[in-house]
C-alpha cells in the first residue's frame, strides 16, 4: 500500500447512492456488522436518554430534603430502573455491542464478524428486554435497588421484580452471545501479518472484556434464576424465613457485577487508546504495557467482588484478601493513565471534540480511580459504604469514565459511520456543558457521603440541603448538555459536510477505506504493513496520503 502516493483514486465500488428506503436497513435483521453496531449505538443511546430522564426525576425529588415530588414507592422504582437502564441498556451495549461490532472487523481487517447471524440475534434481544423493563412502571417498578438484595426484593413490587429478573436474563444472554462472537473474531479473523502484539489496543481491550463476560455473566444468571424461584415459587435459596442466606445472593450478584464495572470501562479504555494517539499525532506510549494491563485488570477484577460487602458480615481475613486485590488494580490502571499522559506529552494536539472528551475522560476517570483506592481500604469503606461517597465514586468511574469515553468514540468515528463530519462548535459546547454539569452534580456528593448522607433515600437531613441543591442544578445542566449533541447528530447526519475517508489522518484499517465503508468493508484483503500508531514516521505520512487504498479494486490500487 505504501507505493501508492498519488491521490488519483477512484473508489471502485462507489458508495451506493442512498435510496429512498435506505433507512429501513437500520430496522432490519441485517447481518452487516456496521449496521448492527449502529443499531446497538442508537438503541442504547435512546435508553441513555430514558435513564437520564429517570435520573433527572430522582434529582428533582432530592432538590429538597422532604419527600415531596413523587411517592416513596415510585422514588425507589426510579433509582432502581435508572441504574438498571444505564448499566445493562446503555453502557454495556454501547461499549461492547456498538463499538465492538462496528470497529472490531474494521480494525483487524475482516469483512464481518465471525458469526453474523448470532450477532443480529444478540442485538435483537435488547429492544424487547428494554421495553419489558420500562413496562414494569405500569405494574409497580422493581424498587429494591439495582442490586435487588433479598429479602427486600422478595417483598416489594413482586411483578416488577419478576420483570426485572426476566429482562436481565435476556440482556445477559445477549451479552454472552456478543462476547463469543468478539473472541472468535479477534482470535481467528485478523488480517495477514497482524499478530496479537500488532493489534490495535481496542482489540486487546475487547479480548479482555469478552473473557470477563463469559466467566462472570453465567453466575449472574444463576443468581437471578434462584432469586426468581424464591420470588415466584416460594423456595428459600436466599429467603431467611425459610432458612436461606441473603448474603449468598450478594456474593453471586457481585461475582458478576464487579467485573461488570470492567466490562463497562475496559472497552472504553480501548477507545481512548485509539483516539489519543490520532489526535496527539504521536504513537501510543507503552503499547505492550497498555495491552497486557487490560488482562491484569480483567483477571484481578474477578477476585475483588466482596469489597462491595465489607459490612455484610464477611469474615475479616476475607475482607483483607479482597482489600489487597482491589488496591492492586490501581497499578495496571495507573499504567494506562500514565501511558495516556505520556502519549499526549510533546504531541501536536488537535483539540477536536473527540480529543476534548478523551482528555476529559482521563481527567474524570482519575478522580474515580483515586476514590476507588480509598473505598478499597476496609476501615474507611466501613464508614462510607452505602453513602453518597459511593454514588460519587461510581459516577466518576461510569459517567466521567465510560460515558465521556463513549462520547469521544462517537465524535471520533461518526464521520466513518455516516460519512459526514460533525459540527465542532456544537461539539465543544456539548463538552463544556457536560463537563460543568457533571462535576457540579457529582463532586459535592463526596462531601455529602463523608458527612453522613446515606444513598437510596427520598428524604434527608435538612443540613444537607444546600449541597443537594447544587447537585440537582448540576444534573439539569448535564441533562441540557444532551440537546446540542442531539442537534449536532441529526443536523450532521442529514446535512453535515461530507467526510473524507480519513478525516483525522489515522493509521488503522478503517481509515484506509471509504467513509462509510462499503458493504464488505474492503475491496482488497488488507495486509498488515504499518503499525497502528506509527505517527511521526515517513511510512505513516505516505500511508495517510495514499487515501482509501483498501476500498480500491486491486487493479486500481497498483495503477
Amino acid at each position: 500500500m505504501t507505493q501508492v502516493v498519488q491521490e488519483t483514486f477512484s473508489p471502485s465500488p462507489p458508495a451506493p447512492e442512498p435510496g429512498k428506503r435506505d433507512w429501513l436497513k437500520y430496522f432490519s435483521f441485517t447481518t452487516d456488522h456496521k449496521i448492527i453496531g449502529i443499531q446497538y449505538l442508537v438503541t442504547s443511546f435512546v435508553f441513555y436518554l430514558v435513564g437520564g430522564f429517570l435520573a433527572t426525576l430522582v434529582r428533582t425529588e432530592l432538590a429538597t430534603p422532604e419527600s415531596d415530588f413523587v411517592s416513596r414507592e415510585v422514588y425507589n422504582g426510579l433509582f432502581t430502573v435508572h441504574a438498571t437502564v444505564m448499566i445493562f441498556l446503555w453502557i454495556v451495549p454501547a461499549a461492547t455491542g456498538a463499538f465492538g461490532n462496528y470497529l472490531l472487523p474494521l480494525l483487524i481487517g475482516a469483512r464481518d464478524m465471525a458469526f453474523p447471524k448470532l450477532n443480529a440475534v444478540a442485538f435483537w434481544m435488547i429492544p424487547p428486554a428494554g421495553a419489558l423493563l420500562l413496562a414494569s412502571f405500569f405494574f409497580g417498578a422493581p424498587a429494591s435497588g439495582w442490586t435487588s438484595y433479598p429479602p427486600l426484593s422478595l417483598m416489594v413490587n413482586k411483578v416488577g421484580e419478576a420483570i426485572w429478573i426476566m429482562s436481565l436474563l435476556i440482556l445477559g444472554t445477549s451479552s454472552i452471545l456478543g462476547a463469543v462472537n468478539f473472541l472468535v473474531t479477534i482470535l481467528m479473523m485478523r488480517a495477514p501479518g497482524m499478530t496479537l502484539n500488532r493489534m490495535p489496543l481496542f482489540c486487546w481491550a475487547m479480548l479482555a472484556t469478552s473473557a470477563l463476560i463469559l466467566i462472570s455473566t453465567p453466575v449472574l444468571a444463576g443468581a437471578l434464576i434462584l432469586l426468581g424461584f424464591d420470588l415466584l415459587v416460594g423456595t428459600a435459596f436466599f429467603n431467611p424465613t425459610g432458612g436461606g442466606d441473603p448474603v449468598v445472593y450478594q456474593h453471586m450478584f457481585w461475582f458478576y457485577s464487579h467485573p461488570a464495572v470492567y466490562i463497562m470501562i475496559l472497552p472504553v479504555f480501548g477507545l481512548i487508546s485509539e483516539i489519543l494517539p490520532v489526535h496527539s499525532r504521536k504513537p501510543i506510549f507503552g503499547y505492550k504495557a497498555i495491552a497486557y494491563s487490560s488482562f491484569a485488570i480483567s483477571f484481578l477484577g474477578l477476585i475483588v467482588w466482596a469489597h462491595h460487602m465489607f459490612t455484610s458480615g464477611t469474615p475479616p481475613w476475607l475482607r483483607m484478601f479482597f482489600m489487597i486485590n482491589t488496591m492492586i488494580i490501581a497499578v495496571p490502571t495507573g499504567i494506562k493513565v500514565f501511558s495516556w499522559l505520556a502519549t499526549i506529552w510533546g504531541g501536536k494536539l488537535r483539540l477536536t471534540s473527540a480529543m476534548l472528551f478523551a482528555m476529559g475522560f482521563v481527567s474524570m476517570f482519575v478522580i474515580g480511580g483515586i476514590s476507588g483506592v480509598m473505598v478499597a481500604a476496609v476501615p474507611f469503606d466501613i464508614h462510607v459504604h452505602d453513602t453518597y461517597f459511593i454514588v460519587a465514586h461510581l459516577h466518576y468511574v461510569l459517567f466521567g469514565g465510560s460515558v465521556f469515553g463513549l462520547y469521544a468514540g462517537i465524535y471520533h468515528w461518526f464521520p466513518k459511520m455516516f460519512g459526514r463530519m460533525m459540527n465542532e462548535k456544537l461539539g465543544q459546547l456539548h463538552f463544556v456543558l457536560n463537563f460543568i454539569g457533571f462535576n457540579l452534580a457529582f463532586m459535592p456528593m463526596h462531601k455529602l457521603g463523608l458527612e453522613g448522607m446515606n444513598r437510596r433515600v427520598a428524604e434527608y437531613d435538612p443540613k444537607f440541603a444546600t449541597l443537594n441543591l447544587v447537585c440537582t442544578i448540576g444534573t439539569y445542566i448535564l441533562a441540557s448538555s444532551t440537546i446540542p449533541f442531539l442537534i449536532n447528530v441529526v443536523w450532521s447526519w442529514t446535512k453535515g459536510e461530507k467526510a473524507p475517508s480519513n478525516p483525522w489522518q489515522g493509521l488503522t484499517f478503517e481509515w484506509m477505506t471509504t467513509s462509510p465503508p462499503p458493504a464488505e468493508n474492503f475491496a482488497v484483503d488488507p495486509v498488515f504493513t504499518i503499525g497502528a500508531y506509527e505517527y511521526g514516521t515517513e511510512e505513516a505520512r505516505e500511508a495517510i496520503a495514499a487515501g482509501p487504498v483498501l476500498a480500491m479494486a486491486p487493479s486500481a490500487s497498483h495503477g
Binding site: 416513596r72 414507592e73 435497588g145 438484595y149 429479602p151 427486600l152 417483598m155 416489594v156 431467611p240 442466606d245 441473603p246 448474603v247 499525532r281 504521536k282 504513537p283 501510543i284 506510549f285 507503552g286 504495557a289 459490612t311 455484610s312 458480615g313 475479616p316 481475613w317 483483607m320 482489600m323 488496591m327 492492586i328 490501581a330 497499578v331 495507573g334 499522559l341 499526549i344 510533546g346 501536536k348 494536539l349 482521563v362 481527567s363 482519575v366 478522580i367 483515586i370 481500604a377 476501615p379 474507611f380 466501613i382 464508614h383 459504604h385 452505602d386 453513602t387 463526596h446 458527612e451 453522613g452 446515606n454 433515600v457 427520598a458 434527608y460 437531613d461 505517527y535 514516521t537 505513516a540
Partner: protein, 338 residues
C-alpha cells in the same frame, strides 16, 4: 527565562508536596470524631487524601498544561516525535503505585486490626448470639423516650418484670468491661435492648469511654447500623447475627442511620445515639428502669391510676427537664380523679 528544567521540576515537586500535605490535614470533609476508632480511620483517610490530591494535581496539571503547551499551531501539519515508550519510566510508574498501594494495604490492615476488626472473638458472626431478642421485640416495647401512652409502658412492665427482680438495674460501671447492647433493625426503626438492666429503648444511650459491643440483628429485611460520627457501620442481616464494637469518646447527640435500602421509608429510618457521661448514663438507665418497673412488688399492679403522681411521672421527668419537686407543684387535674 533560562531557568534549568531540573530547578523548575524541583520547585513544582516541593509545591506539590506542600499542597498535598496541607490539604490532607485541612480538607474539612469529615464530621466530628466521636469514637475512639474515628481518629484512626480519619488518619487513614487523611493519608489517602494527601496522596490522592498529589496524584490529582499531577494528572490534571499535565492535561491542562499539555492542552495549552502542545496544542497544534494552525500552520503545522506535521506529526509529533515518534516516541513509542520508555522502559525505565514505565517501570517507575508501575513500581511507585505498587509500593503506595501495598503501603496503604498494610496501614489499612493495621488500622483495622487496632479497631478490633481482626479480633478472633469479634468475628463470631455465625453462632454466638442466641436470637432471644426476637422474642422481646413486638412493636409496643419501645421505651419511654418515644411518646407513648401510659398503657403501653404498663404493658411493657409485664415483659420486663421478671428480668428485674434485683435492684441491680444500675449496671456495674466497670469502665474496662465491654457493655453488650442488642440492636435490632426492623422496618423502620431500631430497638436497643440492654441485657444487664432489661431496658428497651428506641434510641441508643452509651457511656463515653466504655467499650460497647453491639449485637445486631434484623427482624425483616437487611438494614445497616451507621453512626457517621463513629465512622462505623454494620449490616443487620435477618437470620444471621452480626456485631459491632466501638468505644464512644466524645459526649454528644449523633444520628443513627439505616444505610441499607430497607423499603420505601428507608430514608426515615433514623434515631439518635446519645453518648453521655457514665453518671448520666446510669441515671438514664435508672429512669428507664423506673419507667418500666417502679418497685418490683408493685409490678403486678399495673394500672397507671394506682401509681402515685411521682411514680407515674418519673419516666417523663428526665425528658421534660423538670425536677420532681417542680412536678409536685403542678398537680395535674386527672391525677386527682381518684
Amino acid at each position: 527565562m533560562n531557568i534549568p528544567s531540573s530547578i523548575t521540576t524541583l520547585v513544582i515537586g516541593v509545591l506539590l508536596t506542600l499542597i498535598s500535605l496541607w490539604f490532607g490535614q485541612h480538607h474539612g470533609l469529615l464530621p466530628v470524631e466521636a469514637s475512639e476508632e474515628a481518629p484512626l480511620i480519619d488518619g487513614l483517610f487523611n493519608l489517602m487524601m494527601t496522596i490522592g490530591i498529589g496524584l490529582f494535581i499531577i494528572v490534571q496539571g499535565t492535561l491542562v498544561y499539555a492542552g495549552f503547551k502542545f496544542r497544534r499551531q494552525p500552520d503545522d501539519d506535521t506529526d509529533g516525535p515518534p516516541i513509542e515508550g520508555n522502559i525505565p519510566l514505565e517501570i517507575l510508574w508501575t513500581a511507585i503505585p505498587a509500593v503506595i498501594v501495598l503501603g496503604l494495604a498494610v496501614y489499612s490492615f493495621d488500622v483495622y486490626s487496632t479497631i478490633g476488626g481482626l479480633d478472633p472473638m469479634g468475628h463470631g458472626m455465625a453462632h454466638k448470639v442466641p436470637s432471644h431478642q426476637t422474642a422481646a421485640l413486638p412493636g409496643a416495647a419501645i421505651a419511654a423516650p418515644l411518646p407513648e401512652t401510659p398503657e403501653a409502658i404498663a404493658s411493657q412492665t409485664v415483659a420486663q418484670a421478671e428480668a428485674l427482680d434485683s435492684p441491680a438495674s444500675t449496671p456495674s460501671m466497670n469502665m474496662g468491661d465491654e457493655m453488650v447492647i442488642q440492636a435490632q433493625g426492623l422496618q423502620y426503626a431500631w430497638i436497643f435492648t440492654y441485657p444487664d438492666s432489661g431496658v428497651v429503648s428506641g434510641e441508643l444511650h452509651v457511656p463515653v469511654g466504655r467499650p460497647i459491643k453491639l449485637e445486631i440483628s434484623a427482624a425483616d429485611v437487611l438494614h445497616a447500623f451507621w453512626v457517621p460520627e463513629f465512622r462505623l457501620k454494620q449490616d443487620a442481616i435477618p437470620g444471621t447475627p452480626t456485631e459491632l464494637r466501638f468505644t464512644p469518646k466524645k459526649m454528644g447527640d449523633y444520628p443513627v442511620i439505616c444505610a441499607e435500602l430497607c423499603g420505601p421509608y428507608h430514608g426515615a429510618m433514623k434515631t439518635r445515639v446519645i453518648a453521655e457521661s457514665p453518671e448520666d448514663f446510669t441515671a438514664w438507665i435508672d429512669s428507664q428502669t423506673v419507667a418500666t418497673n417502679t418497685v418490683p412488688d408493685q409490678a403486678i399492679a399495673l394500672s397507671a391510676a394506682e401509681k402515685s403522681p411521682e411514680q407515674f411521672l418519673a419516666p417523663y421527668v428526665s425528658d421534660l427537664g423538670v425536677t420532681a419537686e417542680a412536678l409536685h407543684t403542678i398537680q395535674p387535674p386527672h391525677l386527682h380523679a381518684h
